[in-house]
Symmetry: C2
Subunit: 124 residues, 2 copies
Amino acid sequence: MSAPPLSAIDPRVTQLVNELIGRVADKWTMLILEALTEGGTMRFSALGRAVPGISQKMLTQTLRQMERDGLLTRTVHPVIPPRVDYHLTDLGLGLAEAFCGVWQWAETHLGRIETARRDFDART
Amino acid sequence: MSAPPLSAIDPRVTQLVNELIGRVADKWTMLILEALTEGGTMRFSALGRAVPGISQKMLTQTLRQMERDGLLTRTVHPVIPPRVDYHLTDLGLGLAEAFCGVWQWAETHLGRIETARRDFDART
DNA sequence: ATTTATACTTACCTTTTGGAAAGTGCCCCC
DNA sequence: GGGGGCACTTTCCAAAAGGTAAGTATAAAT
C-alpha cells in the first residue's frame, strides 16, 4: 500500500518521529524506563532482577540502545568484580513522564478492554 | 533472569498493563490511531492510503485487534462493492490522547536524540 | 590452585513477524 | 458473459527478533 497520505501537515518529520517512537516504545525499553524511574541509580544485575523475564542479551542490548539515544548514562567503576551503574538522564526522565499518560490510561481502562475482548470473542 | 521485582506496589496489574501496552503500542496501531484521529470515519481503502507502507494483511490484522480491544468500531454496509467504515470509540480516542504526550515528546526531542546518537557513535 | 562474583559477548537455533501475491465473493455495467 | 471494484483471506516464504547457554576477563577470597 502506498500513495500520498491524507494530511500534509508533517513532511518527513512524521517519518522520523514514527521511527523514533517505534524504537523507543518497545516492551523492554518501557520496563527498564519504569524500573529506573523508581529505582534511581541501578546496576546491571539489579535491573535484571527488576525486569522479570528479560534475558541478559536483551538487557544489554536495550541498555545500549537507550544509552545511545541519550536516555540514560552508563558508569563503569574500575573495580573487580565489575560494577556498572545506570541512571536516567533528563531526556530519559522526560520520556518516562510522557509515557506516564499511556501507563495511566492502560491502568484505568484495563477493565473496559478486557470486557470488550470478551464481548468480541463471544460475538465471533 | 527472574526473582522478585524491586517494588511491591503493583501485584499482577503491572503484568497486565505491560501486556496491554505492548499490544497497543506497536507501530501500526499507533499509525492507524493517528489516521483515524485526523480522518474521523474512514473506510478500509482510505486507511490503507493514509498509512503508507502497510500491507493489506497487517491493516486487516491490526484493525481487528483494535476492534477486539474496543478501540474502534467496524461498520459493514451491505452494499456491493463492499464498504466498511472504521472509527474510533471514546476508548480509542482516549488512547490517542494519551499517546499525544509521547508523540509531542518525540517531536520536540528528536534533535537531541539524533545528536546523542552521533556522539555515541563517534565515541565508540 | 580453585572457586566466586559481575558484567558482559558470542554462537547457535527456534519462534515470530510480516511482506508479496494470488484467490474469493458478489453485483453492477457494458 | 467478461471485466471491474472493494474488502478481505490465505498461503508461502524470507527476515528479524530473541532465548539459551557457553565463553571471557580479573582479582579477591579460601
